[in-house]
């Protein structure tokens, strides 16, 4: 029988742990991108959440990338900014989204 690992509280994650993880939007969360906002709906809670354009870009990059670290690289390229300058923003974004159950983490290292 498969045993699920103990869930890790988002605030207990270090960036190093997060960097190697794969971010996934769970099946119970739907989202659509609009001109100036991405709107997410958590179907389990019925709550709506709005992301500003930066948040929308981060979500898109995280959803597509194999790891959070590679998403950081992609976002940095997109904005023409050194990755080190946006790592903290991406980390805080992920922690916030995890707290709201709008994303999940997979261990990309296998």
């Amino acid at each position: 029988m498969a045993v699920s690992p103990e869930p890790v509280a988002p605030t207990a994650l270090t960036f190093e742990e997060l960097a190697v993880a794969k971010v996934r939007v769970p099946a119970y969360v739907v989202h659509r991108e609009f001109a100036h906002e991405t709107v997410m709906l958590n179907l389990r809670t019925g709550k709506y959440h709005g992301l500003n354009p930066s948040g929308g870009v981060m979500l898109e990059a995280l959803d597509k990338a194999a790891t959070v670290a590679s998403a950081v690289g992609e976002i940095a390229r997109r904005y023409g900014t050194p990755a080190e300058e946006i790592e903290q923003d991406v980390y805080e974004f992920c922690v916030d989204m995890l707290k709201r159950s709008l994303i999940e983490l997979d261990d990309a290292s296998g």
């Binding site: 739907v30 659509r32 609009f34 001109a35 100036h36 906002e37 709107v39 709906l41 179907l43 019925g46 709506y48 709005g50």
Partner: protein, 325 residues
């Protein structure tokens, strides 16, 4: 596939001895048949009815019962209206201290208490709330809105209760735009867009509202409203949904129309998806998202005391500009 009315169904709803031959009507994108008269224009179409309306003395005897499910509640005419789903998937619809209805699991047979024949308020409840909630179970979607037909398609006005939806629609009807609906706009997805289906050609007008210049047939005075038929000035044809206007009225607001770049959140409180439909929350999100992305939405800013004619002027100018563009 159209429903077949079985002898058992006829017996189960206790059809009245006085019931006449079925009459057929078109409204909300569906064909309805009833054995009792309704203030609607009959359709000449031979299409089989999607939903049949029958009279029944004891509506509650038909309901399979289920006190555990959460109700779908809202207020109509100041009274609570409750939709409940039974064990068998059927529905009981009841107005607080008022008329009751039963809807079968397939949403093809509405049993109505006889009050719908003799009491105008009960009949209005049937032709408004009961019909549109039933329509939502047939896969169509809705918006709490009034709408008129223009050269470019249906134009809808969104607002909360008392926000002026009816007044602006009636003013535009006065100017020659056929009415699509007064209160609930039923939509069908087609070809990547939305088709607006006309409601029954009925309106609830403030009793004090002047109706000169519009051919209306009064049906009844209900509270401080006149329930009227506007069959002569309403469209019977579905049309593409061309534009949405959000009415935003507040003291001191100057009259202007502002094009919006909406999100689903702007439309959420106006969307109508049946509360017992499968995945209703997801469907409501998708409805609002698709409307926001595919249909132009503008905000009408106007003072609370602005006359409907002033708002209609703004709308006509906006529509003319849109067509010119």
């Amino acid at each position: 596939m159209p429903p077949a009315e079985t002898a058992a169904q006829r017996q189960s709803v206790g059809v009245e001895a006085h019931a006449g031959p079925p009459r057929r009507y078109r409204a909300f994108g569906l064909t309805w048949s009833s054995t009792f008269p309704l203030p609607l224009v009959e359709t000449t179409s031979d299409a089989e009815p999607d939903v049949m309306l029958r009279l029944c003395e004891d509506v509650d005897a038909l309901w399979s019962g289920n006190p555990r499910t959460p109700d779908w509640r809202f207020r109509i005419d100041g009274r609570r209206f409750v939709v409940q789903r039974g064990w068998a998937g059927d529905f009981r619809l009841a107005q607080q201290e008022g008329v009751r209805f039963h809807l079968d699991r397939a949403a093809t047979l509405i049993a109505c208490e006889p009050a719908v024949v003799s009491d105008p308020a009960s009949q209005r409840l049937l032709l408004d709330t009961v019909l549109w909630t039933t329509t939502l179970l047939h896969g169509l979607e809705g918006l709490h809105a009034s709408a008129v037909q223009t050269a470019s398609g249906a134009v809808a006005f969104l607002a909360g209760s008392g926000g002026g939806k009816t007044s602006i629609a009636f003013e535009l009807v006065r100017r020659g735009y056929p009415l699509v609906c007064d209160d609930v706009l039923i939509l069908e997805r087609r070809g990547g867009g939305f088709v607006a289906h006309p409601s029954p050609p009925l309106m609830n007008l403030p009793a004090a509202m002047p109706v000169q210049g519009v051919e209306v047939d009064p049906i009844a005075r209900i509270g401080d409203e006149s329930w009227v038929s506007v069959a002569h000035v309403a469209t019977r044809q579905p049309s593409g949904l061309a534009h949405l206007f959000l009415l935003d009225r507040a003291p001191g607001l100057g009259g202007r129309i502002v094009a919006m770049e909406p999100t689903a959140l702007d439309l959420l409180r106006h969307a109508q998806v049946h509360a017992f439909a499968d995945a209703w929350e997801l469907r409501r999100f998708e409805l609002c998202s698709d409307l926001a992305l595919r249909v132009p939405l503008s905000r009408i800013e106007a003072d609370v005391d602005a006359a409907p004619s002033e708002i209609a002027d703004l709308v006509e100018r906006a529509l003319t500009g849109a067509e010119a563009a």
